[in-house]
Each structure stands twice: as C-alpha cells, then as structure tokens.
C-alpha cells in the first residue's frame, strides 16, 4: 500500500517536475562538455562531465561531483562498461533502473519515460540529468544566476487503518517535522530545508483526516515545505515520529464513530446491496454470539460462533491491500461491535452490524496470506496461514447452520504457498548411529571466534555454559555426551577458516556415530527489535528433533520463532538428526536479561534435555538409555 501510494505520488510529482526542471535546464548554460556549478546543502558542486544531446542535458556517471552527490544522498550506482543496465539504489531504498538506448526508466515498480536515452561516450555512461536528480529526490532550481540542487519533500504516503491515518513523508534530505500551528481542527507542520512540487490539496475524508494541503515557502536556498492537515471532528494528531533520517511519520487518531463503510473501498468491493437472507427466510435471524481468534499451528484461527442459519460471502482485496471480510447475511450481532488488534498474521479484527441483516467480520492482514474459510453447523472458521500465497482466490460464498451444513459450499481452494519448498535430500532414516547412547553438543563459536558480543558478553561463553549444563543433565539421564569443545577454545585451531572449524565439529559427531547433534548459539541482529528462539534445521530428519525441543521451550520468557530450514553448515553436514538452536537474541534488551541469567540458562538446558528425552522416546533405537 505504501509502496503504491508513494509511487503514485512520485509519478504525479514527476510529471510536474519534468516540465519545471526542463525549463530550468534549458535556461542554464549547459552545453557539451561544459561545467555545471550548483550549490547543494551549502557547498558547491562542480559537475564537469556534462553534455547535451538534442538540447537535453546529460551527466556522465564518472563525474567526481556526481559521485560526491551520490555519496551525500546515501545512494549508489551499479554499472560497469559493457553492461546495458545502469542501476541506482537510493536511500529510500528504491532502485532506479536506466538502460542504454532506452528512454524508459523505472523508479521502483513504476515505468517512466525520460527525455533522453542513456548512452555511452568513451568508457562512460551518460544519463539524463533531470531524471537522475528526480530519482535522488532533488530538483535543480535557480537563485538568481546560481543553480541550486534543492532537496525535495518527495512523497507523502497516506495509509488508513480503520479510524487511524498515518502519513509517511519522505524527502531528499534529513527530514524533521516542526509543528507551526495547531488548533482543534487543523495542524500545520513545517519541513525546513526541503522544497516540493507536490503543491495542492488532497481530500482524504476518513480516518480523522479531512484533507491535506501542501505548499512551499522560504527561499530557493532555504526552502520550507508546509503540510497542513485539516482534521475531522474529534481527531487527535500524534507527535511526529522520525522513522529514519529521511522519513517522518505523522499519525492521526480519528473519532471512533468514523463510518465503518469506508473500510471497503466501493470500487474494490463487489458486494451488492444487501440481499434478503436466503437461509433465514421465514425463520428467526441467526445470531453471531462470539468472534474469537487464537493461534493455530500455522498462523491464526478465527472462529465465528453462530446460532441459526445464514449465508455468507467473503472477499479479499489484492495484495498489497491485504484486507479480508466476510458478510454474514441474515444475522444479528449479539453485543457491541468488536474492534481490536490482532496477532500476526492478523493486524486487526473488526466485527460490525453492517446493515440491519448483515454482520461483517473484517480482518486486516500483514500480507497476502493463505485463507481457508470453513463453514459448520455452528458457525464459520477462518484459518489464516502464516505464508504468503500468490493469486489467492478473492471471493467465495456458502451457508452456515443446520439447514445448509449438509450442502457442500463452493469454497475456492487456496493455491499452494509460493514459498513452500520440497526437501532436496532423501529422508534421513538411513542413518544408523553406531553409538546410540552418544549425543554430541556443539557450543557455538569459541576460542578465537567469540560469536556475537553485546555489553561485553560473548556468545561463545554463553553457549559453552549452556552446553555444559545440558551435558550434566543428559549424563544424569544415562546418555554419553561429548562436547565439541569443553573449554573456550577453537575446535580445529586458532584463527582457522570457518570451513575447517565447522567441519571439525561435524567430524566429531560423524566419526563417533553419534545419535544426535545439538548446536547451541545466541542470536543477534543489527538492531534490538528481533527477539525469540529459533531452531535451524537442514535435513529432513532434523525437524522431529527440533520440534520435540521446541515444544519444551515455548514458555521460557521469550517468544518462539519456530523451526527454520536453512543451509547451516553444521546441521547440513552432520549425518545424524541435528538442530542449531539460537536460544535468544543478545541484541535485544529483554532477551539479553534472559541470556545473562544463569537460572534461565539452566532452565533452557533442562528444557532441551526434556525435548531430547521426548524425541528418544518417540523415535527409539536399540541400546539407547531408558527415558
């Protein structure tokens, strides 16, 4: 949704900008191989690889000032001589694609026409100047005789979520929204240092926002863009948030009585005028007694409980607008409307009496999820999967209740998940452990490889500690246990290659003919957001072991990120069932507290041991310890 809106905004803006910049470029003293001097963010840039073809200015990608401009705008260019495509990745990030000899250029998903096709002169590709600047969210303006590269407020993405509206502003420079005036009915933000070609007023009309007007003031060198938001009655603006340097998020909470009908855009909803309820004809209307949502094995399950008979019709919008709703005709909603946040993959759930005989249950999803709608005698089940599907069916209908339950309703089957992958290798049942009592535990990293380090705490030390705790418990249960390293050292040799180090660990387990292999790690990411426990597997035989341990580790203070198949070296190359457990994120403050608590590490070790015992019971082999 945001992507689309941004692109549309860009397209409109581009049309205006091309005309405007065209006049300016024509007016500037640009001739073949002359310099173009322009000020940018207070300093001068002297472009020397400037050329003109058919009166259209072009710039060589090797121009030192252009390279500086790319760096300062957080962009980079992918091209080398011999390549046809010239690609620029902007800070948005958006990929702008040019091709030699083709006037078409693409800004993200949108195709546009440039005034000039890129060409090669010598060993250098030349790109049309004004389109290039547009793609960097800059405009070439003139201040007297001086050319100015002016950062632009490039796009405003308006996104409605029920009664809330968010507006994401994106610019060609660091953005800061300053509140200039605020009353109960309107609020005006100033963005200092950016100009715009988005001037004008857009009617919004829902989600607390009546309209948004954009205008420009200030000077060419010190422009100010003003964004004035006229509020609907009762709407409350939230404080502007800097999403990242070039983005600012403005949010508005509309009054709760905002018309729900706006939830389904008229042109997207083929729902006809309410029809007389067929199943309920001549009988008392059915009653929706409750709507509940609960996590399922693969996503969320929503259950609509209904007494009586009714018909239903469901619709979903096309990705990226992932809204789904089902209208239950001939039904009354018992109790007040429901409007609550969901749990992934459901973002929100709303239940309303849409008209006197129709109850609408609307879900907002975080992607084009697989949805299966199943009617029964007592209601309707909606299973929302966690995987995205391509070309999912967009509508269906059927009957609920005792009268119609016998008749099979026509429900389009969801298409197979696009990302479902087949196992690449034969099932692992062929492996026979020559030492069925032995479990190899691999503390992740160690020695010269510290793993991830946060707050002075190294993953290697935590992993070794958890591995030793697990060993103690397993030995007490009758297992033989071998650690790939029992002190904080490299397994192969210090400062060895990752291959030698990981292969040495794999060799220990494979050579010993171990029953199981468990690699213990702590996770990390570049920001503190992600948290939870992840179980990485590679071979078909790994999943059952991972699942047995996962089942025991669900209530240990962080969340369960599930079993993830990947090409991890140690799980891929060990011959026995293996799992690599990323116990929690050192980069997340809450997970960090857990990882650095010895009580938590002991608890996790016990849970792993429980899971291993459960696995051994379920998949017993001869001569294993009694569980």
């Amino acid at each position: 949704m945001n992507w689309i809106n941004r692109s549309i905004a860009r397209t409109g803006k581009l049309a205006a900008a091309i005309g405007f910049a065209g006049v300016l470029v024509a007016a500037l003293p640009v001739r073949a191989n002359t310099a173009l001097v322009a000020t940018y963010q207070g300093h001068m840039l002297r472009f020397t690889h400037v050329a003109s073809r058919s009166g259209v200015a072009a710039i060589g990608v090797g121009d030192p000032a252009f390279q500086t401009l790319l760096r300062e705008t957080g962009s980079f260019l992918t091209w080398k001589p011999g390549e046809r495509y010239i690609l620029i990745t902007t800070s948005a990030p958006t990929v702008v694609s040019f091709a030699l000899g083709d006037r078409r250029y693409d800004v993200g998903p949108i195709a546009l026409q440039a005034a000039l096709a890129p060409y090669v002169q010598g060993d250098e590709a030349y790109l049309p100047l004004r389109e290039l600047l547009r793609s960097l969210d800059l405009a070439l303006r003139e201040d007297g005789a001086v050319a100015v590269l002016q950062p632009q407020l490039a796009s405003l993405d308006v996104h409605q979520e029920g009664v809330r509206t968010t507006v994401l502003a994106h610019g060609g420079a660091l953005l800061h929204a300053r509140v200039v005036t605020e009353s109960g009915t309107a609020i005006t933000y100033a963005f200092d240092g950016v100009g715009t070609t988005l001037n004008g007023t857009r009617e919004i009309g829902t989600g607390g926002v009546a309209s948004i007007a954009i205008s420009e003031s200030g000077t060419v060198r010190e422009p100010i863009t003003l964004v004035s938001v006229t509020l609907q009655s009762g709407a409350i603006p939230e404080s502007p948030q800097n999403a990242d340097g070039r983005d600012v998020l403005l949010a508005f909470d509309g009054a709760q009585e905002a018309p729900y009908a706006s939830e389904a855009p008229a042109e997207a909803s083929p729902t006809p005028e309410p029809e007389p309820p067929q199943a309920a004809a001549g009988t008392a209307p059915a009653v929706v007694t409750s709507v509940s949502a609960a996590p399922s094995a693969d996503g969320m399950s929503v259950v609509i409980a209904l007494s009586g008979n009714a018909t239903y019709e469901w619709h979903r919008l096309r990705d990226p607008d992932n809204r789904f709703w089902v209208d239950i005709s001939g039904a009354q909603l018992q109790g007040p409307p429901i409007d609550q946040q969901g749990q992934e993959p459901i973002l929100s759930i709303r239940v309303r009496q849409n008209d006197p005989t129709t109850v609408r249950v609307a879900l907002s999803l975080n992607g084009p999820k697989a949805i299966v709608v199943t009617p029964s005698a007592s209601g309707l089940g909606i299973a929302v999967g966690s995987t995205d599907v391509a070309d999912a069916p967009r509508l269906g209908s059927g009957s609920i209740g005792t009268v119609a339950a016998a008749a099979a309703p026509s429900i389009p089957a969801p298409s197979a998940p696009e990302e479902e992958s087949a196992w690449k290798f034969a099932p692992h049942s062929g492996y026979v452990a020559t030492n069925p009592r032995l479990i190899v535990i691999d503390p992740g990293h160690g020695g010269s490889d510290r793993g991830t380090i946060h707050g002075g705490v190294a993953e290697a030390a935590l992993a070794l500690d958890m591995a030793r705790r697990l060993r103690t418990i397993l030995v007490a249960r009758g297992w033989q246990v071998k650690l790939t390293h029992d002190s904080d050292v490299d397994v192969y040799q210090p400062n060895d290659s990752p291959h030698d180090e990981l292969q040495a660990r794999v060799d220990i387990a494979n050579t010993a003919g171990a029953r199981l292999f468990v690699s213990i790690h702590a996770n990390a990411y570049v920001n503190s957001g992600p948290y939870g426990t992840t179980f990485y597997v590679s071979k078909p035989g790994d999943a059952a072991l991972a699942r047995a341990i996962e089942t025991r580790m669900t209530n240990d203070g962080t969340k369960d990120d599930g079993i993830v198949k990947s090409h991890m070296y140690v799980t891929f190359h060990t011959r026995m069932p293996a799992v690599l457990i990323e116990t929690a994120f050192l980069s997340n403050p809450s997970d960090y507290e857990l990882l650095t608590s010895s009580a938590w590490r002991q608890k996790v070790a016990e849970e792993m041991a429980e899971g291993i015992a459960e696995y051994a019971q379920e998949y017993p082999v001869a001569n294993q310890p009694a569980q």
Binding site: L87, P93, G108, E419, S421, D561
Partner: protein
Amino acid sequence: MQTRSIVLAVLVAVVAGATWYYLSHRSTATGETLAVYYTKLDGATLGVMRVSLRPREPGESSAERLHNVALYGAVEALAGPPSDVQAIRFPPGTRVASVSVDGSTATVDLSNEVTQQAGGAFGENGEFKALVYTLTGITGIDAVQILVQGNRLETLPGGHLELDQPLHRADW
C-alpha cells in the same frame, strides 16, 4: 497473374511479419514483472514486491537478457523494500559488484560489507534466503553462487550458512 501473385506474396509476408512482431512484442504490452522477495522480521516468512521489467531490446540476446534481469533482481533484492517495511536487510553499504549466469546458476559477487554481520544466524539466513528466492524466481535460474569481493567463501566470518556451493530454494 504474376503481378497478383507477387502482391499476394508481399501481403502474406507483411501479415506474417506483423503477426510475428505482434506476438514477439506482446509481453511488452502486458508488462513482465519480477518478484523481489524479502524476509520478514520473524526470520522465516517471505514478503514479496513486484517490479516491472523493461522489455527485451532488439539485439539483446537471450543470454544477455538473462544476465540483465538477474543483475536487476540482485540489486533489487539487496535494496529490499521501502524503509517503512520491516525486513531483514543486508548490512548497510552491501552492493552487487557483478552478476554472471552460467547455465542455470547465477553467480553474485557482493562487496565486502556483507561480512559485517551482527553475528547471529538470523541476519544471514534471512538475507540470503531473500536473494536466492528472488533470483531463482527468474526463468532459467535455479541456483545462486555467492562470492564476496570475487572470492568464494566457506561461510561468512563467524557465520553459519554454507556459501561455498550454490544455494537453491530447496535449502530453505
């Protein structure tokens, strides 16, 4: 009679030529798209965004076409979705140095920034899953070999994912 035959032959040739032109350029009108995948912050599920592909140029051989689409796909996958979309992203500054296609294997040479991982399996798994899914979504490509600064690595430094052989969708 002979004149009529010649006119007819020319007419047939023109119709055939026009039909060929129409059929061979039909995909242009409908607009081919490329699915660019990104891994969501749950570390496993994929999101997808579609970008349009420019039509094949006259004189662009099918091998060059495959190379160009693969290069575009790799650059798009490294860029990822707009910043307001939550996604696992390659370390800042990671670039595509080059892409080549040999048989059905695309080789993607990445800049050294890719080695600046946070340390966990989370990032590298999500990053490479998205890149491999994007490239193997291109007809004619079913495997992706990763290079870093022109060299084949066994894993990233301190890493977990095996990179010294081509990756496939089936690895995930």
